[in-house]
């Protein structure tokens, strides 16, 4: 059954998907740099409110994933912000998140020197969404 994107239920399923992805476990084995937060900007009426997603990642494991306020998301060491439509493109694999960040379609806050070394991990983080049956409101 489809789960609405960026809902608490979706985030829980996403956490399970990350932890079930062996490629993420390998690719992110050296990730010790803390939380990655995502902010999904509102796009009413399909997605009415700015929403934060908190991913506590450590050595290839997602230890915790939860819905947070955008303000709390901004306190994470790494925070990626994008419009609802951009995140939809990312989840549907129509937009590579690294390219999206380079082109300014997704905004990154955090240490770039760490991010560029973690490209494999970030790609697998995105690939993990493929196993979550995601519903996007139009």
């Amino acid at each position: 059954m489809s789960i609405p994107f960026a809902s608490a239920e979706w985030i829980a399923a996403y956490k399970d998907a990350i932890n079930a992805n062996p490629a993420y476990k390998t690719g992110a084995a050296n990730w010790t740099y803390g939380v990655v937060a995502l902010i999904v900007k509102a796009s009413p009426p399909a997605f009415p409110d700015d929403t934060g997603i908190w991913l506590d990642l450590d050595r290839g494991v997602c230890r915790d994933a939860r819905l947070v306020s955008p303000d709390e998301a901004k306190t994470a060491p790494f925070c990626i912000t994008g419009d609802y439509t951009r995140w939809k493109q990312v989840v549907k694999k129509e937009l590579d998140p690294i390219k999206g960040m380079m082109q300014g379609k997704l905004k990154l806050k955090g240490d770039l020197t760490i991010v560029v070394r973690a490209v494999k991990a970030s790609q697998e983080l995105v690939n993990s969404t493929a196993s979550v049956d995601t519903e996007f409101a139009e």
């Binding site: 590579d96 380079m102 082109q103 770039l112 020197t113 560029v116």
Partner: protein
């Protein structure tokens, strides 16, 4: 017209005579400046097509309209001549501070002909150009030469050659401020052939712009865009080598003379983050640049200890790293310093060294020929020795100093299969296995394999997304479909950027119309995006026409055998560019005939190319 002085000083080193040249405004408008203008006036100055290292060959040092105006990225200058490495149109640009110094000295450039009776340098000071003796500089490396001339002429900027230029190494470069170089196509050898050790520029004249209010507004807007740009941030924090790790993942990094598809450990050991952590002292900016991508580095101790100085750029990290399987980053820094001092283009030098190692390991060069040198992959000590031999043109170095195309021809026995060049210019280190469009760009660049005179690299890799010029939103690297159109648009955007001497990295943060706006507010010419792109097409056709007149044709628009051989591993495994498809489509878009020459119709349609139409078609 503002932004240009409309004054190029022609100086004959044989006779010592000089004269001022000026040109109609429509010529500046149609060819912009820098290498665009250079290609336009080359024909008139040369009075034919003299051999690259003959006294008659004009050597052009050129600024552009933006240079010295304080627009971000406007510090560059260009040097053009017929290339001794390729035999066709040659050129290079570099940043630093020399370009603005030349412009502030009151001229737009120098057209240097003849051959000095003894080693000399040119002093450009407040509008005057004089020839000075340089006997005391003979054999000095670029760092020493720059320091000595800077001491002699306070507040001056120096562009000089090293021992390799004096010895006419075919890929000798021109060095400015130690770390900024006119690297490609052997312009340093042309200087050497004229016995010109350096050009020293000094001046304080203000460059007037046409609309100071609009200029200030545009400048502020562009600085804001650069501040928000992630690629600019990446360049600022890690230098041009910032993408080595990502590049390995997406199939952009060549390994072992273009024969392996993947080595993540090597990329991690040589990538921007590691280099920054281990060696960075501080970053450094060219004049007017808010990015500061240049690295000042130091190796504190060990066999490759190096005093504080310019660190390697991305291309050099491949040239002396991935391309020759050297994982020792400290040795790489030292090799970069040695190449800078000797005055050699690190891209061509790296390509030549990798080629020589391939030949050595296959028995095409033996230890006797190499004077006891073991030129095997990963042998860094062999690299240092080979570099010195090349710069001095001693032993095997004399052969390698000719470049990989000529060396392969002389070695024979299949060595041509190992030489990785287009039209004699060694490939820069972005891999066409992973990015077919870059392969086409190498094939069709007017100076041989080039990654800079177009914006293919950032466009095809998705680093930028220019809207409103016919580009797709996203490109798949490992396909050849649609790449001809992409490359043509990327060239039409990038060629004028190069001609006005704007730094490409700064341009990555621009919208397409911003390039035209820069020209408009500075010159007063009513440039819009359409005219800007048309100028790009015109300049490309002119340089292509010159290259054809110098002997290039469709047979030369090919990728080297190494690129047409698929890798067995990595993300680009099995992928090779469909060069026939891309070339066919590209020829149609550019209006090239089957022999590779621009058609009369294409030249007439572009406008301002009547001289080329006459020379090519009668």
């Amino acid at each position: 017209m503002k932004g240009n002085w409309n004054r190029i000083v022609k100086i004959d080193l044989s006779s010592g005579k000089s004269e001022d040249l000026s040109f109609p405004e429509d010529l500046w408008r149609s060819h912009i400046g820098g290498s665009g203008l250079g290609a336009r006036i080359y024909n008139d100055l040369a009075g034919g097509l003299p051999e690259p290292l003959s006294p008659e060959t004009p050597l052009l040092f050129l600024a552009g309209p933006l240079v010295g105006t304080s627009l971000p990225g406007s510090s560059r200058f260009s040097v053009c001549a017929r290339s001794p490495l390729t035999g066709i149109w040659g050129e290079g640009t570099c940043g630093g501070n020399f370009g603005p110094a030349l412009k502030m000295a009151g001229i737009d450039g120098l057209a240097i002909v003849g051959e000095a009776p003894a080693l000399c340098y040119l002093l450009v000071e407040d509008g005057r150009v004089s020839i000075r003796p340089a006997a005391d500089l003979e054999g000095r490396d670029c760092y020493e030469t720059g320091d000595l001339l800077s001491e002699r002429h306070a507040k001056a900027r120096v562009a000089c050659i090293g021992p390799a230029g004096e010895k006419l190494v075919k890929f000798a470069n021109i060095n400015n401020d130690k770390g900024d170089v006119i690297g490609r196509t052997g312009m340093g050898a042309v200087m050497g052939s004229k016995r010109l050790k350096a050009v020293v520029a000094k001046g304080s004249r203000k460059i007037e712009v046409a609309d100071s209010g609009a200029f200030a507004e545009l400048r502020s807007f562009l600085l804001g865009r650069i501040k928000e740009s992630v690629p600019a941030d990446s360049l600022r924090s890690m230098g041009t080598d910032s993408n080595m790790d990502l590049g390995m993942m997406i199939g952009d990094i060549p390994l072992r003379n273009w024969s392996l598809g993947e080595n993540f450990e090597l990329a991690a050991s040589l990538g921007g983050p590691t280099m920054t952590e281990r060696f960075l002292v501080r970053s450094q900016a060219c004049l007017y640049c808010p990015i500061a991508c240049k690295r000042v580095m130091r190796v504190a101790e060990g066999p490759y200890a190096m005093e504080e100085g310019p660190g390697p750029e991305y291309e050099t990290c491949c040239a002396f790293g991935t391309g020759i399987l050297n994982a020792d980053a400290a040795a790489l820094l030292k090799a970069n310093e040695l190449a800078n001092r000797l005055g050699m283009d690190t891209i061509s030098l790296g390509g030549v060294l990798a080629f020589a190692m391939d030949c050595f390991e296959r028995g095409l060069i033996d230890e006797k020929e190499a004077a006891g040198l073991k030129l095997s992959f990963g042998n860094v000590e062999g690299v240092f020795t080979a570099m010195k031999l090349i710069a001095r043109r001693e032993g095997l170095g004399d052969l390698l100093a000719e470049g990989s195309r000529a060396a392969a021809k002389r070695i024979g026995r299949g060595a041509e299969e190992l030489a990785v060049h287009v039209k004699g210019l060694e490939l820069p280190f972005h891999d066409p296995h992973g990015f077919h469009g870059m392969g086409l760009a190498y094939m069709m660049s007017t100076r041989g394999a080039c990654h800079l005179q177009h914006l293919v690299h950032p466009i095809e890799q998705g680093i930028v997304a220019f809207e409103g010029v016919g580009l797709a939103e996203d490109y798949e690297g490992r396909t050849s479909e649609g790449k001809a159109a992409m490359v043509k648009i990327a060239e039409d955007l990038g060629v004028p950027c190069n001609a006005m001497l704007l730094c490409e990295f700064v341009g990555w943060a621009f919208r397409p119309q911003d390039f035209a706006s820069c020209l408009r507010v500075v010159t007063g010419f009513d440039f819009d995006l359409e005219e800007y792109l048309a100028a790009g097409a015109r300049i490309w056709l002119r340089k292509r026409s010159l290259a054809c007149l110098m002997g290039a044709g469709s047979d030369d628009d090919v990728l080297p055998p190494k690129i047409m051989r698929p890798y067995a591993e990595g993300i680009a495994a099995g992928s090779v560019p469909d060069q026939d498809l891309m070339r066919r489509e590209y020829y149609a878009l550019r209006g090239l005939a089957a022999d590779g020459r621009p058609s009369r119709e294409a030249l007439e349609k572009a406008g301002g190319l009547e001289d080329m139409a006459l020379r090519l078609h009668g």
